[in-house]
């Protein structure tokens, strides 16, 4: 594919609109409050769209439709796994999070525990998650843009990095939220359009549609059955846990709950988000099967070896061309690029807030703290993370980064989620327990992934993995919870008693919202 004019024009239009939004948002983004939370008056519906935008990354749009294209049913396992975290967030986390926190989930974790150690740990957990996610997105962006727009890899990575620095530094959460909302609408409409154009060819008869796919796919009727994605029970449960609880520990998602005014709006956000995301995964499934039927045998989309041009992740893009010609291809390419841009912006903002709000304001600044300085630090942190993302994006070109999102989920499930959950609900939690258990989870998740098949074999090319399972969450989460429990109940220090004594008041606030940090009380 050469230079794609429609795609470039549509993308330039998107960038133009989003830069205008950033200019508008910059005027309103003068305080730390507005920088981190968009002023706190985003509605539940808008936040639901923004959350689903954060979640519908290019990786999940292209990756899951590609997985469905390749394996059929197995793609559904991932979709459901990514969705199942939402009721958990809603039932256990969303409302207490909004009632207790201000800018980041570490506010909640450190509500009654000691600020410095807890913030330090939460910031480590957040930054690891954010940076791994960023690398995966940047490498994906580079490859995608190289293929779709005919631009060189490094220039694509630099464009993404530069735009994201611009949005976040000047427009803060307000610009990031609106960029995400626009993109979510574009992506949902684009995916709906492809799905409708595919199904129309079968007069919306689902039986005929699946039958056509079975007849074409080399695996035949087996695409309707579980394949090799999950081979043993331990992997199944481990992946299930990581997906289920990882979502509830992703800092860029958790941060969105501070942009709404109260727990009621936070609740609404999750219902809308779950609806949008669920609908989106149904679309990716139709798109994957559509690509089996309309793309897999069309030589226009295949290379000499009979594989998809690009790779299997391009299934949705080729399908857009197959059903809607150059115009739809251009639109979907632009949407895919916009998606990456919006997601990296959200990630960078979450990373920057971990640096400026958790590390600078609450750990390192001490007596020199001022809100103005915190703002400056957050902007410097944004630029730093943006440049780091560009650098890492270029460094990891051509590397296998498939494990990174999985690792990000494992860390989120093994560190961020347990500390957050137990700090809200478990009276006996102490700083010592949280720090030791949380660190054990963080380290074990990383070590087990490195020693496991996805890094030890696929990246380092050793014959056999030292740790046999692809997904560490079952082991690392167990270690976290055991560690937190043991080192909390054996903690007899005077701090421990104080921390436990503060629980009842915190619990009252978390359940009722009395004393909630409002958007106007600054």
């Amino acid at each position: 594919m050469g230079l794609n004019i429609t795609a470039i024009l549509m993308f330039v239009l998107f960038v133009g609109i989003t830069i205008y939004i950033t200019y508008w948002a910059a005027k309103k983004t003068q305080t730390a409050k507005s920088f981190y939370t968009a002023g706190g008056d985003i509605t539940g519906f808008q936040n639901g769209l923004a959350i689903s935008g954060d979640f519908m990354s290019a990786a999940s749009f292209l990756g899951i439709s590609g997985l469905v294209y390749l394996t059929g049913f197995d793609g559904l396992i991932y979709s459901i796994g990514f969705l199942i975290g939402w009721p958990i967030i809603l039932l256990l986390i969303a409302e207490p999070l909004r009632n207790l926190g201000k800018y980041s989930f570490a506010d909640v974790a450190s509500f009654r525990l000691q600020q410095k150690p807890i913030r330090l740990l939460a910031a480590c957990g957040s930054l690891c998650t954010v940076i791994l996610y960023l690398i995966a997105q940047m490498v994906g962006a580079g490859k995608l843009v190289e293929l779709l727009f005919g631009l060189p890899y490094y220039s694509a990575v630099m464009i993404v990095g530069a735009l994201m620095i611009l949005y976040v530094t000047f427009g803060g959460m307000l610009a990031t939220t609106w960029v995400q909302i626009i993109k979510a609408i574009l992506l949902l409409s684009g995916a709906t359009l492809i799905a409708v154009l595919v199904l129309i060819q079968f007069s919306f008869n689902v039986n005929d549609f699946f039958k056509a796919a079975i007849n074409i796919h080399p695996k035949g009727v087996n695409i309707l059955a579980p394949g090799g994605l999950i081979s043993d029970p331990i992997s199944a449960i481990s992946l299930g846990l990581a997906l289920m609880f990882g979502t509830a520990g992703l800092p860029h998602i958790l941060m969105r709950f501070f942009t709404v005014k109260d727990a009621v709006e936070a609740r609404k956000s999750v219902v809308y988000a779950t609806g949008f995301i669920g609908y989106f995964y149904i679309l990716t499934f139709i798109i994957g099967f559509g690509a089996i039927i309309l793309v897999s045998k069309n030589t226009q989309y295949l290379n000499e070896l009979g594989q998809l041009i690009g790779n299997n992740n391009m299934a949705a893009i080729h399908l857009a061309h197959a059903v809607g010609g150059d115009l739809l291809l251009g639109f979907i390419s632009a949407v895919a690029f916009a998606t990456i841009l919006a997601v990296v912006s959200g990630l960078t903002l979450a990373g920057a807030s971990a640096i400026s709000h958790d590390l600078y304001a609450n750990v390192f600044s001490g007596a020199t703290f001022s809100e103005k300085k915190e703002m400056q630090v957050s902007k410097i942190a944004t630029v730093f993370l943006g440049l780091l993302a560009i650098l890492l994006g270029i460094t990891f070109e051509g590397q296998n980064v498939a494990f990174m999102v999985g690792l990000a989920f494992a860390i989120a499930a093994s560190t961020n989620f347990p500390i957050l959950l137990l700090s809200i609900y478990w009276k006996k939690l102490t700083t010592r327990g949280a720090v030791i258990g949380g660190s054990a989870g963080l380290i074990s998740a990383i070590v087990l992934v490195v020693l496991g098949p996805v890094v030890w074999v696929d990246v380092f090319n050793y014959e056999e993995a030292i740790f046999p399972y692809k997904y560490p969450a079952l082991f690392s989460m167990t270690l976290t919870f055991m560690g937190i429990w043991f080192f909390s109940v054996t903690d007899k220090s005077k701090y421990a008693h104080l921390e436990q004594a503060k629980f009842d008041a915190q619990f009252f606030r978390s359940q009722t919202g009395v004393g909630i940090d409002k958007s106007l009380n600054h």
Partner: protein, 100 residues
């Protein structure tokens, strides 16, 4: 704040706890059980999901998968409905008593 209103707050808060448990616990079960059931079948007895239904173009696994996606959304919708109906009135009363 008077002793009477402190007592009232305590009572309301324990009502809230009870109501919340009654809403949240069943819904958590309705989230976790079907999901691990789904994953469990894939891990232990995948053939169950490969069975074809109807005119042979859909499998049980795919149909249940789609139902599960819908079910997850319905769980969030149900919680939202129950929270507004059963929890919010207690929370409002609590806040009113608190500010008296």
């Amino acid at each position: 704040m008077s002793i009477a209103s402190i007592k009232k707050i305590k009572k309301l808060f324990s009502d809230l706890q009870k109501a919340r448990r009654e809403v949240v616990l069943p819904l958590i079960t309705l989230t976790v059980a079907p999901y691990f059931g789904f994953i469990g079948v894939i891990a232990f007895n995948p053939n169950l999901f490969s069975k074809l239904v109807g005119s042979g173009s859909l499998s049980i696994g795919i149909i249940l998968g789609f139902i599960l996606i819908l079910h997850i959304f319905l769980v969030t919708l149900t919680y939202s409905y129950l929270a507004n109906k059963k929890l919010e009135p207690i929370i409002r009363k609590l806040i009113k008593t608190q500010s008296m």
